[in-house]
């Protein structure tokens, strides 16, 4: 169905067919006093040339940096074909259809997307996407509490992204759900299952298990999943979808697999775009599907036995069961998942595996180069995917500022969210960084740390 505006002639013909004078006349039931007025504060419309100049000058405010910041939004190479195809009129203009079955092509793309996500997560069903990873986690928490029925407490480790934890709190705040934050083992950088087993935590509906966690560290997912299940609680996996090309998927965690898996799909074909839009994905085991929010596309046959696609299980949704809908979500990130589906199709499982491997290898290489720099140390000793927290012998702020002056965004300061670490910096390496990029990073850091490193004159054992 092409989305092309009507011509004046079309409009006149339609009005004539229904016997109405003008488009205005269609609204004459609405009292004058309720009609909107023109907005005087809006400046006059600008033309294309003016807008282009304005946007260019705004863009110039941001320098072009080489970034080593991850922390939930990752710079990856997106093949040119992805957005070439995604910006085709048929995809670009499509909204989440309400007369869904008239948009078979849109539904088919969503079905393909869903199929790919079930393959990546090794869980039975997924929805057609949610707004972003953080709100997807909040929806998973709500879903777990609905499913569990007796407890309204959910355990979330501090190794979960601070923004995600804030978002969850905001969304569940007025729904009588208690979020309990769990500590992590400091030298290792992940949750300690032994410690959990010894803690008196009481009943809870679910445990959130990030993989990798905010520090890039791999959590002991099997032990954590089994621990939660043994306590009658659900295991909610919070995963980086690119890492699933290498790591064990949530459906195979522990003895029974995780119950729900969520995360942000940004690493799969979505540009950084100054923070968004991205998209959230959600997958779950088959028994929980009726509690899952969001749109779900199903494949079926029509009255003539031909294959077709339809929105399914709609009794979960607002337009069927208003007050008892599983969520107020009634849309999805259509354009983002279209691009992501094309990206995944182009790369395929082998391509995704290679990207993930190169990211991990890149981090290892950078850490190797930095290990030769005195004054740089890793905060955590456990295995990591493609991010690592570092500490420097000089204030992190100074290191990051000096790197920025060289056109490098050196990492994310962890000081405000994790003061117990001290002055940590979270550094990420993806396939977009070459070996010479990494050497440059290491040599700049070595220079910055070396220049500033002057031992205190009164300190014993300080070399002259």
């Amino acid at each position: 169905m092409p989305f092309v505006p009507h011509t004046d002639e079309d409009i006149r013909a339609m009005l004539a067919a229904i016997g109405v004078e003008s488009v205005e006349a269609l609204f004459d039931e609405i009292p004058r006093s309720l009609r909107a007025h023109p907005l005087p504060e809006l400046p006059p419309a600008t033309n294309e040339l003016e807008i282009v100049r304005l946007m260019h000058s705004r863009a110039e405010h941001d320098r072009r940096y080489r970034t080593f910041i991850g922390a939930g939004a990752y710079e990856h190479h997106v093949p040119a074909a992805v957005w070439q195809i995604a910006t085709r009129g048929e995809f670009y203009t499509s909204y989440t259809p309400y007369q869904a079955e008239a948009s078979q092509g849109t539904l088919q793309v969503l079905y393909e997307y869903q199929s790919m996500m079930t393959a990546l997560t090794a869980l039975a069903v997924t929805n057609a996407s949610l707004y972003d990873g953080a709100s997807a986690l909040a929806e998973a928490v709500l879903m777990a509490v609905r499913t569990h029925k007796s407890s309204r407490r959910v355990l979330i480790p501090r190794t979960v992204h601070p923004s995600y934890r804030k978002t969850v709190r905001t969304i569940v705040k007025n729904q009588d759900i208690e979020i309990v934050e769990l500590p992590y083992d400091l030298p290792r950088g992940h949750v300690d299952p032994q410690y959990l087993a010894e803690m008196e935590l009481g009943d809870f509906a679910a445990l959130v298990i990030p993989q990798p966690n905010f520090f890039g560290v791999l959590e002991p997912v099997d032990a954590l999943t089994d621990w939660a299940n043994a306590r009658g609680a659900l295991a909610i996996a919070l995963v980086n979808p690119l890492s699933l090309a290498l790591l064990k998927p949530p459906g195979r965690w522990g003895r029974n697999g995780a119950d729900i898996a969520v995360g942000d799909g940004q690493p799969l074909g979505i540009p950084l775009s100054a923070g968004g839009p991205y998209y959230g994905f959600m997958a779950c085991r088959k028994e929980l599907v009726r509690q899952m929010p969001g749109r779900i596309v199903g494949r079926t046959v029509d009255a003539q036995g031909r294959t077709g696609f339809a929105l399914t299980l709609q009794a979960r949704e607002q337009h069927i069961r208003r007050s008892r809908a599983t969520s107020n979500i009634c849309t999805n990130q259509g354009l983002m998942v279209t691009a992501s589906t094309i990206h995944m199709a182009l790369l395929g499982p082998e391509g995704l595996r290679r990207v993930a491997r190169v990211c991990h290898a890149g981090l290892s290489m950078l850490l190797g180069k930095l290990s030769a720099v005195p004054g740089v140390s890793r905060v955590f000793d456990a295995p990591a995917f493609h991010e690592s927290a570092l500490k420097f012998s000089v204030p992190a702020e100074d290191v990051l500022r000096a790197l920025r002056a060289r056109g490098i965004l050196g990492g994310l300061s962890l000081k405000s969210d994790y003061p117990e670490i001290g002055d940590g910096v979270l550094v990420c390496v993806t396939e977009t960084k070459t070996e010479s990029d990494l050497s440059e990073y290491a040599s700049h850091v070595a220079r910055i740390v070396g220049d500033r490193f002057t031992p205190a004159p009164c300190a014993p054992n300080s070399a002259p």
């Binding site: 029925k149 009726r290 009794a315 069927i320």
Partner: protein, 129 residues
């Protein structure tokens, strides 16, 4: 119309059969399943749940709607029909055989407030218009 005379009925289209042991078996009427269309899922109340009369205690989902099930009597849920998990369409095929749940009654006096077949038929007729 299909309204067995040996059963009692509620205004919300449930049928009730009082068993010899005093428990109540509950389902939805022929008229109700006809209005709903093809039933795809039945969410029954949990075993052991204590319900009050007219309390909403479950949901029946069809291809076009999701309708609440109301308990026509007060009591404790002592059985749920497990057949409906895999075959919810049984409610369409045999509305008076495919029971939803059984109650141990806590207030038998409520029985006098239920409708007989004739009274229910009037309600169903009016509903059809």
């Amino acid at each position: 119309m299909n309204t067995p005379t040996n059963l009692k009925y509620s205004k919300s289209h449930e049928w009730i059969r009082i068993e010899p042991d005093g428990t109540a078996t509950i389902g939805i009427t022929f008229h109700a399943q006809e209005q709903l269309g093809d039933i795809v899922f039945v969410q029954q109340p949990d075993m052991g749940r204590v319900v009050k009369q007219d309390e909403e205690c479950g949901v029946i989902e069809s291809v076009k709607a999701a309708a609440d099930i109301y308990s026509p009597l007060s009591g404790e849920v002592i059985a749920i029909n497990a057949d409906l998990d895999a075959a919810p369409e049984k409610v369409n095929e045999d509305a008076y055989g495919a029971w939803l749940f059984k109650l141990k009654l806590s207030d038998p006096a409520e029985l006098t407030g239920l409708l007989d077949a004739a009274a229910y038929e009037k309600i169903a007729e009016a509903d059809r218009e």
